[in-house]
Amino acid sequence: MNSFFLLLVVIGLSVAGYAAGRARSVLAASGDVRILHSLPSYYGMFVALGCGLPAILLLALWLIIQPQIVEHMVMAGLDPSIMPQNADEYSLMLTDIRNLASGNAVSREASPAIMAAMERYQSLQSVGFWTMGAAVVCIALLGLVWARSQVSRSFRARNVVENIIRVLLIVCSMIAILTTVGIVLSLIFESLRFFARVPFFEFLFGIHWSPQTAIRAEQVGASGSFGAVPLFAGTMLITLIAMLVAGPIGLLSAIYMAEYANPKFRAIAKPMLEILAGIPTVVYGFFAALTVAPLIRGWGESIGLDVASESALAAGVVMGIMIIPFVSSLSDDVINSVPQSLRDGSYGLGATKSETIRHVIIPAALPGIVGAFLLAVSRAIGETMIVVMAAGLAANLTANPLEAVTTVTVQIVTLLVGDQEFDSAKTLAAFALGLVLFFVTLGLNVIALRVVRKYREKYD
């Protein structure tokens, strides 16, 4: 909050800088702005940027670096008697100190030494904040004064400002790349730590998943096994059910909308499908757990089938409903982009509309439809809330849709929700699962986009 206030101060200074720069340029031109190189507002903007940009950069850097330095200083200054021995203890103690400082509950009774460390932490924090505030304001003022001194009749303010803005534009467009790099790096680093404890092939091909690791070494059955095959199988089962629902319904709706429906019907049906796409997944999850699962269980019992209350079927069907609009809108686009001449040729040979669709349009649109299905599959694999709320937690290796299965995303959520230390194989396993998830969906997307693009080029 205080840093936020500081940001407001810097922005205020920038605004003042704008006014100062503008006024100075008008003064330099002695009132006749035509003899200036640029418009007065560019001089103002130059001063504003000179004031704000370095200060905000410094603020951001400081905010990132300060916690590291403060923590290091606090831990180095600890009483030697309670100095942590290993990395786990170190991070636990640090968390305690941090929680104490912000007034939260802590995991154990605070000893006087810890309290002293906490006070030191707090005082360092506040010293750090005030130093930062002073430094940032100083930089902002220095920048303002310097930039203002640059303003003169012949100063090419517009070019400088435009170059700065262009660099900013480039930086912004790089953020997308940085995000991907960040995702890949964070997933890979944590996964490598996981694979240092659990062999890679055991994770990928093991058929037993029970991520509970023991607190004491001699506990029974607490070794923790990380064979992810049941999760992959469960994910595929639910995805398959979802596609069995969404595939036919989505494709047939798309065909009807593209080939049969009159504009009036389209105007109603298309927004309706879009609403289906806009409903948050947590709502679908609630619907699946509260309405669909008991319904399926009731039906199953009435015909003598034993259905688990968190059956894969319920989660899959609801996920299918969620995916219908993806399949239908993508397929709709593809079918619409099949050239009219193909249809006319088919009608001319005497084919009915449905014959034309089945024998001419679908084959012509097939690559695009395949692409649409692949995108839908990737969506289903990565979907989280529906399965978290409606699918099970136990890792069963089964193909029976009436039993409870678990999925990759469910396990990621269950492993990471709640407080836990960050170094156990259990939490790191979530990142390994995330890595698999990321690369599988990425692969599906790349293939799907390539298929769709290739197809479009053929007819354009």
Partner: protein, 438 residues
């Protein structure tokens, strides 16, 4: 040669001639009608599912907007509030209002004697009813010693009973309301001392363990703070990235890479962004857990591709003649964009941004990863306070076993859907009003 053709019968395809009665044609037309019907049925199926989904949520949730109150005669007994008769505000502040409430319940139902029956009786009204009495006494100390007929908020079990969710025909052990409680309730009901009112607390309270006290204001505030951060980060960055890619970037491998990257990022599962937020923002940079600041940053990264793609198509839709005319008059490339292209593309960009924000508002999974799932009874006051958001609140309530939380979950979903519908409505309106076809 003609003989050769005449004699060589087609191997596979037989020559079909129109059948005399046109049966084949009838068959083909029947197939046509069937196919058409399949299409219509699948759209109707999708529609029915939507209706079923919304219907089931409205059906279970509408009653959460009502809350049961029971009328009890309450004596503000000086013995509990101010035994010394000092009238000291501090004494009134800290008096035993819970005990006062219990005493009044016993007085209202003198027939209750057993220990376990008494305990049930104390559960008849909301555990927070004592605080309401306290607020009344502090507002008006003259109440001490008086007796009033007051409407007191009933507990969630009684609330469920009023709303008809408790099956009286079921065996006593299988329902949450015992026969004794039913008798007390009926006694009050027959005396017209039960009433349902509009549940204002649902809109002005934060989360609570007691269903009748739980509200959505905390989650809504958290959502607003989070979305504000998301908007502040993703809108400028997204628009600037789109401007660069659409207007300035040279066509080379590097910009191709950025483009492919953005398209792929748009399809990365949201939970992966949560993992990124956990590993980067929380563990590496040490930002606070559960804070709207971090949630907003994660959601900003997630909505960035949506905004960039929407902004690019809006910029692309501005005809080149406008750019050329501005360039011809001596504007610099940046002036062309900021003075002419961007204002013309703004409605499209805003529409895309609102749709991206609506997505972010409904997103749950990445926020679970960064700890916005804590049970928080305070309304967050800043960007670094622990907070939760509306979808996560829905998830938390959906996990609670009490029947009263089921209807509150549905009600919270209705509020969430109302926000989403409003945002999409604004987006459609913007598009209708400002869209220009060149």
């Amino acid at each position: 040669m003609t003989d050769a053709i005449m004699n060589s019968k087609p191997d596979t395809a037989e020559i079909r001639r129109p059948s005399p009665g046109g049966e084949r044609l009838k068959k083909r037309y029947a197939a046509e009608r069937r196919f058409r019907l399949y299409g219509l049925c699948s759209i109707l199926a999708a529609g029915l599912m939507l209706v079923f989904l919304v219907g089931s949520i409205v059906g279970t949730g509408w009653s959460a907007f009502l809350q049961t109150y029971v009328k009890l005669s309450i004596t503000f007994d000086a013995e509990y509030l101010d035994p010394a008769g000092t009238g000291d505000p501090a004494q009134l502040q800290n008096a035993d209002y819970g005990g006062l409430m219990k005493k009044n319940l016993r007085d209202n139902f003198p027939e209750v004697t057993g220990r376990s029956d008494k305990r049930k009786l104390y559960n008849f009204v909301s555990p927070n009813a004592g605080y309401v009495l306290r607020d009344m006494v502090i507002a008006d100390p003259a109440l001490v010693g008086k007796t009033l007929d007051l409407w007191v908020k009933a507990s969630d079990d009684i609330d469920m009973l009023t709303k008809g969710y408790v099956d009286r025909t079921e065996a006593e052990d299988n329902r949450r309301v015992s026969n004794a409680e039913l008798a007390w309730y009926d006694k009050l009901d027959n005396a017209d001392r039960v009433e349902t009112r509009f549940n204002t607390d649902f809109f002005v309270n934060a989360d609570s363990r007691e269903p009748e006290e739980a509200g959505i204001l905390g989650a809504v505030t958290g959502s607003l703070l989070t979305l504000l951060i998301t908007l502040l980060l993703s809108f400028p960055v997204g628009v600037m990235a789109a401007i660069y890619l659409e207007e300035f970037a040279p066509k080379n491998r590097w910009t191709d890479l950025i483009e492919v990257n953005i398209n792929n990022l748009a399809a990365v599962p949201s939970i992966v962004f949560g993992l990124l937020g956990l590993a980067m923002f929380l563990n590496f940079f040490g930002f606070p857990r559960s804070a709207p600041l971090v949630g907003g940053m994660v959601l900003a990264l997630m909505t960035l591709p949506t905004i960039i793609i929407a902004a690019r198509s809006a910029l692309k839709a501005v005809p080149p003649s406008i750019r050329e005319a501005a360039l011809g008059l001596g504007a610099s490339p940046l002036q062309v964009v900021t003075h002419h292209v961007l204002p013309l593309a703004m409605p499209g960009i805003l529409t895309g941004t609102i749709i991206g924000m609506a997505q972010a508002l409904g997103e749950t999974a990445p926020l679970l990863m960064i700890g916005m799932i804590a049970f928080i009874v305070d309304i967050p006051g800043g960007f670094t306070d622990p907070a939760t958001v509306l979808p996560v609140q829905i998830y938390l309530w959906a996990d609670s076993p009490e029947r009263a939380f089921v209807e509150r979950t549905s009600a919270a979903i209705m509020v969430l859907l109302a926000f989403l519908i409003f945002m999409n409505f604004v987006a459609v309106l913007l598009r209708r009003k400002f869209e220009r076809r060149w």
